[in-house]
């Protein structure tokens, strides 16, 4: 602060240049109709009917250019100090609302869709581009689903067909598990990835890899604190040294009718080398907790407070700072009578997974659980227990 107080008014702005957007759109009159149309196809290149899609005109933030305004802002600041008629510093022009909007549509029988906007509706970026994102599930906030991005180049935009696949997936809400199943597609594949999000905000709750030989997935219900889920399945095939997406299912929603309580919900945790009590591991908020790496933590203890019968431990969004061998997870338990004496619970050399469901070979009763890794944790979002 004193540097600013002592500084003269010969202030220089800090350069702040954005990268140019790659596209610029033509100008439209307010009453002009901007039309965007296209077609969704299934994996057999047939029109995909009744698919909910959304059009998002990219959220555009107007941002003050520091090189043009810093002097004015700072001058106002000093004026507010120099003159008693405080306050003057706040006299700034009106801000505008963040700019974005969504339009929803459902594809016709042949998979086609059409959006129309008035010229005065469209929002532009700094370079005049009208950035459009099409989302296949009608929700513009998710990053977990297919998005098709383009810049409007004319009043009428006709897109090439967009391919999606329908695996006929179903999900059953059983007493203790959610069970997904789907049909085997007719083309080469290596594996599937099933992604499940909170339908309220589309925050990712879980992702499971399923090998090509299987067409089902079963997960403990305690993983999901949200009552309504949105899920989609992405299909991968091997291409050279990596994987390529072959298709993606339009996402669907399911409402859990009889949820199963996460036994670790709102319980406290302790982390190696962390001075404070960790409260974010089991709060069901599924935040992006990345601070573990800041404390060189390789292990965490969940305090269930009393002996509790458990059958599985679910680790959400675990990342380690290394994958060099040895690289295993060990889960141990301690009882209420000997809370610091951790013993094997049959999960002694588990493979660390970003989303890992670890079933105890024999359910047991424990008051504290400890997860230990060979490497420092760089992220751990949530632990649920069932």
């Amino acid at each position: 602060m004193r540097k600013f107080i002592a500084a003269s008014l010969a202030l220089t702005g800090v350069a702040c240049s954005g990268e140019d957007n790659p596209g610029k759109s033509p100008n439209f009159n307010d009453d002009d109709i901007v039309t965007i149309s296209g077609q969704f196809l299934d994996a057999s290149n047939q029109g995909l009917p009744s698919t909910s899609i959304a059009l998002r005109n990219l959220r555009v933030f107007a941002y003050i250019n520091p090189s043009q305004t810093y002097f004015k802002e700072t001058l106002n600041w000093f004026i507010s100090l120099a003159f008693p008629m405080f306050p003057t510093y706040e006299k700034a022009s009106q801000k505008v609302k963040p700019n974005y909007f969504l339009k929803d549509a459902v594809t016709a029988r042949d998979g086609t869709f059409r959006f129309q906007m008035r010229g005065e509706e469209v929002l532009r970026d700094a370079d005049g581009g009208i950035n459009i994102t099409l989302i296949n599930d009608g929700d513009g906030t998710s990053s977990a689903y297919a998005k098709y991005n383009f810049v409007v180049k004319s009043a009428t935009t006709t897109l090439d067909p967009i391919a999606l696949c329908d695996l006929g997936e179903t999900v059953h809400d059983n007493a203790q598990t959610l069970d997904w199943s789907w049909t085997l597609p007719g083309y080469t594949l290596d594996h599937y990835e099933v992604r499940i999000a909170d339908a309220q905000d589309n925050s990712l709750l879980w992702a499971s890899r399923v090998e090509a030989s299987a067409t089902q997935l079963s997960l403990p219900k305690s993983i999901f604190q949200a009552s309504t889920l949105r899920y989609a399945i992405e299909v991968f095939y091997r291409f050279e040294d990596g994987y390529q997406t072959s298709c993606l299912t339009p996402s669907r929603t399911i409402t859990i009718t009889n949820p199963v309580t996460n036994l670790a919900r709102n319980k406290k945790a302790i982390g190696e080398n962390i001075d404070f009590v960790v409260t974010s591991l089991t709060n069901g908020r599924f935040n992006d907790v990345s601070y573990f790496a800041a404390y060189n933590t390789k292990s965490v203890i969940i305090d269930l407070e009393q002996n509790t019968l458990i059958s599985s431990i679910n680790v959400h969004n675990l990342l380690l700072t290394s994958d060099e061998a040895p690289n295993e997870l060990i889960f141990e338990g301690a009882t209420q009578t000997a809370p610091n004496t951790f013993v094997s619970i049959g999960l002694d050399g588990e493979t660390p997974l970003r989303f890992g469901n670890y079933q105890l070979p024999i359910p047991g009763s424990y008051a504290r659980l400890r997860m230990s890794a060979d490497h420092v944790l760089s992220s751990l979002q949530e632990i649920s227990v069932q």
């Binding site: 100090l81 706040e90 383009f150 409260t279």
Partner: protein
Amino acid sequence: MGSVLSFKPCWIMLGCILIGACSNQEDKQDTVIAVEAKVFDVTIQSRTPNTYNYNADSASVGQEDYGHETRILLAIPDILTLFRDDVILSSIAHIEIQLVANEGTVNPDNIQLGFVSQNWTPYATWNSRFSLASDQDWATPGGDLLDLAPVSPDVEKVADGLSHKKLMFNVTDSIIAAIDAGEKIQGFLLQIIPSDVNAGNTSKIFTSNHSSAYAPKAILTFNNEDILLP
């Protein structure tokens, strides 16, 4: 669709479909365009409620003995004047305020950055927004806040071998919410909420008078990955 080759037309059509593994990964792929280091900050203390202090290199934010408390008022003008309609630079995906603490005894949930509702000056104190003049008191001693949920930080190590922690407050949604509500954020208020889950209820925070590496700053992340050529 019996092979990769036969699927090729479909694969090509999907070439422009972006599929994010999860939002966290996507966020990290954004390009950081601007670092705003022009910061005004003032340390205010309930122990000396009428004394201004914009000279401190650091402040022990949080709860002191005998119920006294220290907070930091923070203003980043280029952030507080976002969203003007006269100068549009680009699309911002993420606005993050970074502070550096020299220790990590406080549960991050209890480190909170609130949003100040009234303007203030370098002569702000615990009691007043402008202590050189009369009748400029905060409605609530210690700073008036907007009705926005305070933000808690993600935490990272500043560097290997150092115990200092980088506190990263994502204020994007709060700023958007304020603008949606037609309210103006006049600054940020850093405070520490006492709790039995904290190993200690204070944290030493470096101010703008400290070295630039440890001084508060804002990171603007621009939304480039979402835009592709048609």
